[in-house]
């Protein structure tokens, strides 16, 4: 209590500090989601060492509705994480975040300007589009 640190609690709420904090939260969530998928994927595909039958049984799981939905979420996570990752990469090289000047009221920070915000929402939109295309391909063939 006396320490009053926010701790991991501070990471959980993405609604407090605008678009960049939301992107931070989603990058973390999708990063961990992709990591979980990656581990599951390695375990899943290692089934092949148990022969053709085991492999095909495993493939059948991805053909269910639940399997399709999981894959769609993975597609969305991949696209947002990659696009937003590229945005972070550029910003952390000092590009696209404006330059220092003479602060004028009401002190709008250039690093959270329209460019960065647009990139965040474009990343979200690209992820949504990719998920829709994924749904079209996955559910289209059922």
């Amino acid at each position: 209590m006396k320490e009053n640190r926010e701790g991991i609690k501070g990471w959980l709420n993405p609604t407090r500090y605008g678009a960049n904090r939301f992107a931070y939260w989603l990058q973390r969530l999708t990063g961990l989601g992709l990591l979980a998928y990656f581990i599951a994927h390695v375990i899943e595909t290692s089934n092949i060492v148990y022969g053709k039958n085991a492999w095909e049984k495993m493939l059948a799981v991805t053909q269910t509705t639940e399997g399709h939905i999981v894959l769609m979420v993975v597609i969305g996570m991949c696209v947002f994480h990659a696009a937003n990752g590229v945005r972070l990469y550029i910003a952390e090289h000092g590009k696209g975040i404006g330059r220092p000047g003479r602060p004028e009221y009401p002190y709008k920070p250039t690093s959270l300007g329209l460019g960065m915000k647009a990139c965040i929402w474009v990343s979200v939109a690209l992820a949504a589009l990719a998920m829709m295309y994924g749904a079209y391909v996955l559910f289209g063939e059922v």
Binding site: N4, G7, P100, P109
Partner: protein, 251 residues
């Protein structure tokens, strides 16, 4: 037109309380009443034992930072009306230890600021004898905005990395490091880069931007941190030329 609002004040004294509580006070707020005005009214007329820190009442001294309705703000720079709520909840700034009630302990925060060597390092400046550094307006603009920092700690309270990593210097200190690094009078570039080039240093920032969102002075610490990182990555090395001392000729 005045409105009645409920001010909820966090009360906790680590010396003898096991739990914190909120005390509630009804206050009349005018359009121009700041949260600090309301708290000082409560102190003067209802409960003088509330502990809080303030001095200038004009967003200059950086003492009155607190968590107001969930966001770090200066109490003297936040009007009750602009919160758009009839309930105003005041808590001490997170990520700072609590001294009592709304007063937070800035010892670690100031120590981190100090560890950035927040002063010009240049042996020539020691023997200045009537000469001066000449800086072009463009050179001043590289650091001016960062020098507006009033050390209020709002950014430090908003930062999710400070919230979990004790060794991370935080947005205020890192932005000050960039402020001195990029000042053309400063010569300690390598020494400065060594201090922040650490996995608990500048690289720990995830650019969540919350620091710049809450900064009341337009410092934009997130910008300073990204530029510092870019400098380490070799992106804008040519942007700094160390200034020479000139003797200004009498007219």
């Amino acid at each position: 037109m005045a409105k009645r609002v409920k001010i909820r004040v966090f009360r906790y004294n680590p010396a003898h309380d096991t739990d914190a509580r909120y005390d509630e006070f009804e206050v009349e707020a005018e359009r121009w009443t700041t949260v600090l005005d309301a708290l000082l009214y409560i102190k003067a007329h209802k409960d003088h034992s509330i502990a809080l820190r303030y001095s200038c009442r004009m967003a200059s001294c950086g003492s009155c930072g607190m968590l107001i309705n969930g966001i770090p703000r200066l109490a003297c720079y936040t009007k009750v009306y602009e919160l758009g709520s009839d309930v105003v909840t005041c808590r001490p700034l997170p990520n700072f230890p609590i001294i009592r009630d709304l007063a937070a302990d800035f010892t670690a925060f100031f120590a981190k600021h100090k560890s950035m060597k927040p002063y010009i390092i240049n042996e020539v400046a020691e023997s200045i004898d009537g000469r001066e550094f000449i800086q072009k307006p463009e050179e001043v603009e590289k650091y001016l905005q960062f020098s507006y920092c009033i050390k209020c700690g709002l950014c430090y309270a908003a930062c999710p990395t400070v919230a979990t990593d004790r060794r991370f210097p935080g947005p205020q200190a890192l932005a000050q490091m960039y402020r001195y690094l990029i000042d053309s009078r400063d010569k300690a570039t390598d020494e400065r880069l060594r201090i922040v080039d650490d996995r608990h240093g500048v690289w720990r920032c995830h650019f969540a931007g919350s620091c710049s969102m809450v900064c009341p002075k337009g410092v934009d610490p997130a910008l300073g941190i990204q530029l510092l990182r870019a400098y380490l990555l070799g992106m804008n090395r040519d942007s700094k030329v160390v200034a020479e001392l000139y003797r200004r000729e009498p007219k």
